[in-house]
């Protein structure tokens, strides 16, 4: 399956890049470098289970690592994984320490000035809650109840304004989660991907993420900013397109125990090409 997809991805990439090449001077340095040395260096998370983390023997594994390997396979090169932090991931890419970054990054306008984010987004995350099983069934259940949060998170105001939750915000996530465990609030409101990571850690077996995620924010992988509209960026767009259409992202979600997101389902339906005329 992979070779056929990659061929398609490359076809898409080359087709699209023809248009881009006319306007900007595409040197395609990064991709040339990758192909020359036969190795792509990908910046991934090492502390964000199940997207990127270390297994018991210290190897980097996770959904985004699988995606990185798939990219390397399509290019026919080896992969080298470099752990990055949220605070330095864009600098790593800017300085050329990594060729590609797939590190749970929310796609925002200010970030697009620094790194090249090929479309479409491969994932989204938004606001949800972690609560003891069976306690919370809808957002309305939070009305008037104490809900733990982290001081400074923008989810707090939204949750209290929309659903009248009585937000009890702590300095850090550790305190907020301890307060939830101690029963001082009925739920902990935070980013759904982070909650999923907690659920996947096995420390929260009596808990669930029961609500429909709100305020979805897309996640983007990134290439160097100058190569977004060149061969590398277009190629990655093709990769993401194929991940969506083939259902590969949904398979990876399942493999890594992540709750299925409506976004991936929607994207698969939206991007799936009607091939009925071929019959």
């Amino acid at each position: 399956m992979i070779p056929r997809l990659s061929a398609f991805a490359l076809a898409v990439a080359i087709g699209l890049s023809a248009a881009g090449a006319a306007q900007a001077e595409c040197k395609n340095d990064t991709l040339k470098k990758v192909l020359d040395r036969g190795k792509i260096v990908v910046g991934v998370k090492a502390d964000y289970k199940p997207w990127g983390f270390r297994d018991t023997s210290g190897n980097l594994v996770g959904m985004e690592i699988d995606m990185s390997k798939d990219v390397a396979e399509a290019l026919g090169v080896d992969v080298e994984l470099v752990p990055v932090q949220s605070s330095n991931r864009m600098q790593f890419l800017e300085q050329g320490k990594i060729d590609l970054m797939i590190a749970t990054m929310s796609d925002r306008a200010d970030r697009r000035k620094v790194v090249g984010v090929p479309e479409p987004p491969y994932y989204t995350s938004g606001t949800n809650v972690l609560a003891k099983k069976g306690v919370v069934k809808s957002w309305e259940d939070l009305r008037g109840k104490p809900v733990c949060g982290k001081q400074g998170a923008f989810y707090n105001k939204a949750t209290s304004q929309r659903y009248g939750a009585n937000i009890v915000a702590f300095v850090g996530n550790a305190e907020a989660k301890q307060a939830l465990k101690d029963g001082r609030c009925i739920a902990w409101v935070y980013d759904d991907s982070s909650i999923m990571a907690d659920l996947a850690s096995g420390d929260w077996n009596d808990y669930e993420m029961p609500l429909k995620t709100e305020d979805d924010n897309p996640w983007g992988l990134a290439v160097p900013v100058g190569e977004r509209d060149c061969l590398f960026g277009k190629f990655m767009s093709g990769m993401i397109y194929n991940w969506h259409v083939s259902g590969q992202l949904m398979e990876l979600e399942k493999k890594w125990g992540i709750q299925p997101t409506a976004y991936l389902q929607k994207m698969k339906e939206k991007l799936d090409f009607d091939r009925s005329y071929l019959q």
């Binding site: 001081q151 105001k157 009890v168 915000a169």
Partner: protein, 255 residues
């Protein structure tokens, strides 16, 4: 009122100075609640800590060794640990342990069981005992300043230890202690900001939430300064008035 809201809105549009807690209702309600919580916390802790100081100082002079040791232990514990650590300890460690043991009474907060002493309660307990431990020592210094002859005179008149403490020694000791007490209470009011670590929605916590949601950090920092300068100013003014009204001509003043 509307004129003030409009002024703040206008100020934002003209200068970019965002006093959002004036013109936006949601933030205004939060701000006022935060201010009220800070004032309540300060008043309750000031009163409790003075009571603790008075009682503790009396117990320090007790004939029972055990009582004296208990007071000494209390002072060591509360004076020698940071108030921040105390707050976290009381709320996360002691509070939860009491609930687990079933010692803490629970009440129904609308289909939700809440402990009788919540985060506000633990803040009051922790801060009052913290400031109280200093107050005990402050009052002790005042008591020791009362001349032995005065004490003996009270005994000669047939006062019991408690009676002489209440009617003779404490009134005199109070006057000596007031300047030091004043200092400690000012510190207490400022220390109430620490309650934000156990999510007590006081002024500091509220300002943090407002500046996180509106990215107006400099404005909120400045506002915080004004709030505390005003609060402490009022306290100091009251204490000075009290000090003056209790002045005994000739007492405690060097000739």
């Amino acid at each position: 009122m509307q004129a003030i809201y409009d002024w703040a809105q206008d100020l934002y549009q003209r200068t970019g100075i965002n006093l959002v807690f004036i013109y936006e209702e949601y933030e205004r309600v939060r701000f006022i609640e935060g201010l009220q919580n800070t004032i309540w916390l300060a008043i309750i802790c000031v009163i409790l800590s003075v009571v603790i100081g008075v009682v503790g100082a009396w117990l320090q002079g007790s004939h029972f060794r055990i009582l004296r040791l208990v007071v000494a232990g209390y002072i060591q514990f509360f004076r020698n640990t940071p108030p921040l650590v105390q707050l976290l300890f009381f709320y996360f460690a002691l509070g939860k342990t009491l609930e687990n043991l079933g010692v803490m009474p629970m009440y129904d907060a609308g289909g939700w069981q809440q402990p009788l002493i919540g985060n506000f309660g633990w803040a009051v307990v922790s801060l009052s005992f913290f400031a109280g431990s200093f107050n005990v020592e402050i009052f002790r210094s005042g008591i020791e300043a009362v001349p032995t002859s005065t004490r003996e005179a009270a005994e000669a008149l047939g006062y019991t230890r408690l009676k002489s403490y209440i009617y003779i020694i404490l009134p005199l000791a109070f006057r000596v202690s007031l300047p030091a007490l004043n200092n400690n209470l000012v510190n207490l009011v400022k220390t109430t900001t620490l309650a934000y670590v156990i999510a007590v929605p006081e002024m500091m916590y509220t300002a943090n939430q407002i500046w996180s949601d509106n990215v107006n950090v400099p404005e909120m920092m400045t506002t915080l300064f004004f709030v505390y300068i005003t609060l402490v100013g009022v306290l100091v003014w009251l204490m000075h008035r009290w000090e003056r009204s209790m002045r005994v001509p000739g007492f405690g003043q060097t000739a």
